[in-house]
Structure formats: C-alpha cells, structure tokens
Amino acid sequence: MTLASTRVKVATANEAAAEAVKDVDVDVVAIYPITPQTTVVEKIAEFVANGDLDAELIYVESEHSAMSALIGASACGARAFTSTSSQGLIYMHEVLHIASGMRLPLVMCVAMRALSAPISIWNDHSDLMSVRDSGWVIYVASSAQEVYDTTVMAYRLAEDPEVLLPVMVAYDGFIASHTAEPFEPAGRERALELSPKRRTWSRLDPDSPITMGTITSPEYYYEFKYQQVVAMEKALEKARELERAAQRVLGRSYGLIETYKIEDADVALLVMGSYWDNARLAVDEARRRGTRAGALRLRLYRPFPLEELERALRGVSVLGVVDRAISYGARPSGPIALEIAASIGRRLDLSLVSIVAGLGQRTVTVEDLTELAVSLENARGARDAHLVTRFYGVRGL
C-alpha cells in the first residue's frame, strides 16, 4: 500500500467493515446498536441513504432478532450482513447455531468487547470465545485493512458450495473499531471479482418450494451435525485457496496464521487481533535484550489451522499464549492455550505457557509483551508449565 495512492482512506475498522459491505453489494442488513460496533451499521445506513448501496435495512429490536431477520433474508437468497459486540453476540447465541445448522452463508462483524458483569464496554475476547462452538467460521483481524479485506473474502468462503457456513470477522473493540488508520478499499469491481454474487445455497422459492428449519428425529440429527464437521474441514482447505485468490485480486493476503521472526526463535508469543503490531515490536526489543524471541498471530480461529501452527512452531522451545478471555476453572485457563495444549502441546517438544492479559482492555504495552517474551526463558524444559495460567497484571498477584 502506498500512501500516495488516491484510493487510500483514513478510517476505523468499523468504517472499513461498512465499506466492505458496500463493495460486496450486500442485499440485507439487520441493524441494532451496541458499543463498540454501532458505527458499522451507522455507516452502512449512511451508504444506503446516499444511494451508494442498494440494500434493505431492517431495524430490529434486539440482536436475537437481528440474526433471526438475517436467517430469513439469507433463506430467501439474499446476501446478508450484521454486526455486533459482547452481550449482543451472547444474546444472539441461540440463533447463531440455527444459522450454521441451516448452512446459511451469512457474514457478521464482531467488534470484540468484554462480557458483563461487571459491565465493561471495553475490549477483550470473552464474547468471541463464548461462541466459538457455534459452527461459524471465525476470522480475527488485526487492522482496518485486514477487516476490509477479510469481510470481502468472507462472502466468497461462506458462499462456496462446498462450504456453506456463516463467517464471523472479529476485531478488537475500540483498539481497532475506533482507531483511525489508513486503508485502501479495493472498490466494488475488485470486491465483486473476488466474491461474486452466486446463489449457491438452498433457498425459498415459490416456483420450487422447499421446507427449511425442520425438526429431525434422533435417526437424522447426528448426520447433519457431521456434515457441519466436514464443511469446516472443507472451509480450512478453501481458506488456504482464498488467501491465494485474495493475493491475486486484491493484491494482499495474510495467511491463516502470521509469523514474525519465528524461523530462528527459541521462545515465541502467540496473540490475536490488534496485539500483533505490539507483539512484533516486543520481539525486536526482546532480541535486543538477548532473548531469541518470535511472534505468531492466529488469523483464522475456526476452523483451527493446526498444520500451519505446527509448521511455524518447529524449533520453538517455549510458546507463550496470550489469551484475552478466561475459561473459568479450566487448566490452563486461557481458551487458546487450552486448545493448543490439547492439539500440539505433546506433539512438539514445547513448553506451553498460558498467559491471560488485557481483560476489559487493561492496557498491555510493548514493554509488557517484551517482559512476557523474556520471561518465557524461565519455562524452558518445564513440561507442566501449561497447567498454571499466569494472570498477568492482576494487582496483588
């Protein structure tokens, strides 16, 4: 990206999401405000009011209704979108499973925010972690540019006839959603080239009637759930291809995970979302202090890119996983650390350190991440390190 380009805009991740919705020519948008997502749908309403986007806006009375309205719209063949955060995402949790179970290719942006109680409008990943098993593909983006690109890409993945799964594009509330940065929209032509409107899914049609949202008996239910498992496996394959397609059409791609100086690293920090920039700065600083550090970022969270992760971690002796959510009572208590412990902790010769940090948008600086990276040296060779979670930054600990 060159700043000299006339296409470059300065925008928040929320505005970038709205811009992507405009460029992929979404037909139906369900609108319900919740901080910090609200400006996504506000911007979309502005596009529609100005005639930049020909979409039907549905002003619903809750997030539960927002997702329900989209399920109806998508069942009619519309390209549909909504956006939410925190309690709103949890409030629509019930319907998330219906969208994925009905195999409707919806796309939703999630500006991640801490969960109540106590009420916090600020950022962490608790909301996303609570819906990770709802059968949605989940991307976690780290910049406005990536939010734009991923939202465009999401429709292609969701509507792939071999996938047909709804997709969430998550990013950090406030840190990304309300921080302006330069980004370059691809424009409608290129966005639709990458994600052309195709009606690939079963939909309601008076000329060829079907029934959707049926009840199933015990003899049938399990097979449909297994189909979703297979669709997720397919989505992983397609997500890899999608990165290549994005590179071709948008001139940008990210990979399912991103790495920084991981090739010769002894210790590595794994983060998601907006911590990525600071994590890379921390790696440089830790290296200046004599620790051979590296960093990784999970960009695709569901389906889980195990192979990519394994490949990147070969040669790393200590992996610190920074979670911004807690699985209460689990050991380790960080949801991603738990997952990595289960999937690769024993397959690689690796000590895993679970770190919970930044809850409710408690500030985590480059200095903090540097300290965490350097401290990973202490866990070298400790096979049971992952059983204890480090609640970094709690006063009194």
Binding site: L164, W201, I210, M212, P218, E219, E223, F224, Y226, Q227
Partner: protein, 108 residues
C-alpha cells in the same frame, strides 16, 4: 444405539436439513407414537365434521361413502381414521359433540 441402516447416510442428506419433497410428512408412519386410538361409533356420528376440522394431523378421512343408520337416516359421507397418521392425541374425541368417538388403549 438405535439402528438406522435403512436411513440415508450422512453424505446422502441435503445440507441444512432442507426438505425438498413437500407434504412428505403424510408418508411417514406415526402410529407408533400412539398410546390410545380413536374409535368411531358410526351410529352416533352426525357428520358435523368437527373432528375433521380439529385433527392436527389430517388423520380424519372424509370419504364419499354413503352410510344409512339404523333409523334409516342416509349420510352421503363417512368419516374414518387413517391410523398411520393418527398420533392418538384425543382432540377428535374431546371435540365430538355427540360422543361418537372413544379413545381406546392401544394395548387392548
């Protein structure tokens, strides 16, 4: 585990569990849900059609089959039950104004 050998395999089923054959529920035998079956006394039945209206499963059949009762009264239609579709809910018996329908335990 219940046997499902006759049911389609996972890859033979439509994604999202959509039903492409409309009205297919009429072809499904639901008689094993039933604890009691409705039995109609054709002598008492006055052909008021309430059972036909109220049946939630379309299990009451309205047949073009004349019936002459003991008093010589001739009816042009006869109501019978499709026991493949009847779940034994008893609504027909409840709604019958002349008590022509009785629910009889299946076990008997």
């Amino acid at each position: 585990m219940t046997s499902t050998t006759l049911a389609p395999r996972w890859h033979e089923m439509p994604p999202g569990a959509v039903v492409r054959e409309l009205g297919n529920s009429a072809s499904i035998d639901r008689s094993d849900w039933r604890l009691e079956r409705p039995v109609r006394d054709q002598e008492k039945c006055i052909r008021c059609r309430l059972c036909w209206i109220y049946c939630p499963d379309g299990a009451v059949l309205e047949l073009d089959k004349p019936y002459i009762n003991r008093n010589g009264r001739r009816y042009e239609v006869t109501y019978e039950f499709d026991y493949r579709l009847c779940k034994g809910c008893g609504i027909c018996a409840e709604e019958c104004t002349v008590k022509a329908i009785t629910m009889v335990p299946e076990a008997l």
